[in-house]
Symmetry: C2
């Protein structure tokens, strides 16, 4: 039998962990510097909490946990069984859902947003609003694994909940820029507002079809304008509608030029006017805060239906890579759990794609392979006893080190030092103990020097 990590999930080696930690630490540091507070929620949530929040497709992609013990009572078998007996393509989803409900009441979280909304509702009396929270945890999706798409992956979310102020949008844009500037990765931030899209729907007299409209527009990047038009027509938009909308989807030029065009077309629709004002406010404030890489993109829709205001997406410049960060404002996310009228805005960094970008561009810090600084070569009982003390002294000064655990052949110990990328080895033999000095070997240059024990930590710091 073969024992492996299951498809779509990954083991992380020490070097991969160093690189991932670098990403998480960078994001965490920026979040904290802006006053965001960390929370965590459990991996498992009740299916009541999870189901129906991600659309029918999302429900299918939830990992469900089999109830413990005797998960089905003998007397329930007939009912359970009947769900499978008359199964066909039409009722398959319904039958499977019913059967699942009988044997499973928990699932693994699908994202961090819905658990966060539940968290806010449960702890509303202990939370100081506006609540700025960040959360970095894995999520799970029962997707078909393929290149770049995993069943377990990390999300790095920050949200501000309980404040309508557009200052929050600006702060999140600042954070995006601070994070990617720390990574050294040039990006463009695409900005839109859900209200603009709503105005488009109103313009066509089809406010009720806002979801169909956004879902189609969302695909523009992938399938091109012609296919978007086809999809719109399939969904009941007429030729005239499409002619009205096409130039908007095709608009080029600076943010100012785009705003001018929009002003003319949707400026007298109330929701359009609001959307334009919000965008202008965010652009002006951002400009004040030296954020100059925002591109107004009125085709940005981000399928997620819960967005009600700003929509944001980040792309790495000159790279064939989808969105590496996204977010937006939602006016009623906690409403589904019984706490209405709380507005929030948030972003989520996609750690896996950022990892791939940094790898491809060689942007990880050069010294990331150095996990431990010093290896003490082991020459035997007496010498290693001595090194125990020396090692403790170095560690107290913040210098990581280890003693090779056996007095193996020097060649073997040196091979270990090279394979593990130690920058330094320390050799302490009988002679050295007598002289209170040791031999310090620089593994990069091969140079050796004799150095007094007392000067060792200073030299290595």
């Amino acid at each position: 039998m073969e024992y492996k990590a299951i498809k779509g999930t990954r083991d992380f080696s020490p070097l991969q962990m160093q690189k991932r930690n670098y990403i998480f630490d960078t994001i965490t540091k920026v979040y904290r510097s802006h006053g965001f507070l960390q929370i965590e929620t459990p991996a498992m949530e009740s299916l009541n909490t999870l189901m129906g929040k991600y659309g029918e497709e999302g429900d299918k992609l939830l990992f469900k946990i089999l109830d413990s013990g005797m998960f089905l009572k003998p007397e329930e078998m007939q009912e359970f069984s009947s769900l499978f007996s008359d199964i066909n393509d039409n009722n398959q989803t319904i039958s499977i859902n019913k059967a699942t409900k009988m044997i499973s009441e928990k699932g693994l979280r699908y994202d961090l947003t819905v658990p966060f909304a539940r968290f806010v509702v449960n702890h509303r009396n202990d939370i100081v609003f506006p609540f700025k929270r960040f959360q970095i945890q894995p999520v799970w999706r029962a997707d078909r694994p393929q290149k770049g798409r995993y069943r377990e992956f990390y999300q790095c979310d920050a949200d501000i909940i309980g404040s309508n102020s557009l200052m929050n949008e600006v702060e999140l844009l600042q954070i995006i820029n601070e994070v990617f500037s720390a990574f050294g990765l040039p990006i463009v931030i695409k900005l839109n507002n859900r209200k603009i899209l709503s105005a488009f729907a109103e313009l066509l007299g089809k406010a009720d079809k806002i979801t169909d409209l956004t879902v189609a527009i969302d695909k523009l990047d992938k399938i091109g304008l012609d296919n978007v038009i086809n999809e719109l027509q399939e969904k009941g938009f007429c030729k005239e509608d499409c002619e009205k909308i096409s130039p908007l989807l095709n608009v080029k030029g600076s943010n100012e030029e785009k705003l001018l065009l929009l002003e003319n077309i949707i400026g007298n629709i109330e929701i359009g006017r609001q959307g334009l004002e919000e965008i202008k406010y965010v652009l002006t404030k951002s400009n004040n805060a030296d954020i100059n890489n925002i591109e107004l993109d009125i085709t940005l829709a981000r399928g997620l239906n819960y967005y009600t205001g700003a929509i944001v997406e980040v792309k790495a410049l000159d790279m064939q890579m989808g969105s590496i960060t996204g977010g937006g404002r939602y006016d009623n996310l906690t409403g589904i759990f019984g706490m209405p009228d709380v507005s929030g805005v948030g972003i989520s960094f996609g750690a896996d794609r950022i990892y791939d970008c940094l790898e491809e561009k060689g942007l990880f810090p050069k010294d990331i392979e150095v996990a431990t600084k010093v290896l003490f070569i082991n020459f035997g009982e007496k010498e290693s006893d001595f090194c125990l003390h020396l090692a403790t002294t170095l560690r107290k000064k913040g210098i990581s080190c280890e003693i090779y655990p056996e007095s193996a052949k020097l060649k073997k110990q040196m091979k270990y030092a090279n394979d593990r990328h130690f920058p330094y080895c320390i050799l302490v033999g009988e002679e050295e103990i007598k002289n209170s000095a040791c031999v310090l070997k620089n593994m990069l240059t091969g140079e050796q020097e004799t150095i007094a024990f007392d000067s060792l930590s200073e030299k290595l710091q």
Copy 2:
């Protein structure tokens, strides 16, 4: 409908996260300072990997994940159904296991040791041995939730695999002491060796009953000597056996006195002699390394059958609290996955119990509540625009800060500052902008002073 975190799992608030991070960071720092490398493995593992590793009870406590999509084919229903039709107390476990297998092939990890063993076998060609790895991740057990027992909790493991040297045991004892000394929590380390327990079994001529013997002895702390004797007799040990073993279980005195007694009783049994030598070596080396809080405890058994050498357990002094850290040597853990003859030794810090100890003794650092250093009071558009720049400057100097997102009433903003435990507020009004100075308010003392923008970061650092 009520939406809550499911029983036995927990949300972690910002303050709880600060405290937990303090624990994880302290342990991580010590692990790294000793050259341990971090890895992570997926939350889900194949049930082939997990089942049969934790005993029958453990198998029951695994969370199993329902297969995706149509988890049962209609033609399998009859077989599935039949498993429930003739169910009774005797075959319940077997039937449930068979039925589970038909609809589930994945489970959540139960500990970090078995996934680590699988990791080592899968990546054997990329690993530099001896491999010192650490891993801090949650594990899940479908236990009945009760006080102090959770269904989701973190383990903090370190293992050295691929080296027989007892230096590794000593290093792990050093690590234990360094971690708890960083916490300021006084502890005693209890040490035993599985070979001593094997020698006891041989002494009684019942080497085959070693598991029954250790399981019984393991309960000594909880149920007392008389009940242990009862259990031994139930398992087939005769009265004479129990009379031989009782004085050993009752032995008091210093480590030296205990060793002397053991020497007399099991010194001429080969495996006993080995065990005693190992213990003596570890005690002597530890003593050299200034570790003086080891107590030889020959009743320490730690139920886990895979231990073959040293067994270690840590207790907090003067506290009613079970073991807060444990570990031991295992000679063949990777053998179950097809890679025999690799010896390892490891420890696992119990983060939840350590948290409770530190909380009870008030040992968390005093400033742990301070998540963010400065709140800029928001007096309006112009002022907050100005603060945006000031805040960026402070952040670049490593000072965390935020601007209140709305120009709300001063009282409301001050209440937010107090509730969130900001140590400082900065007030910048029109006057202050003109004078390039701001008012810095110490929230602890209530003192206010006017300070030039230029001196601000220096003052706050």
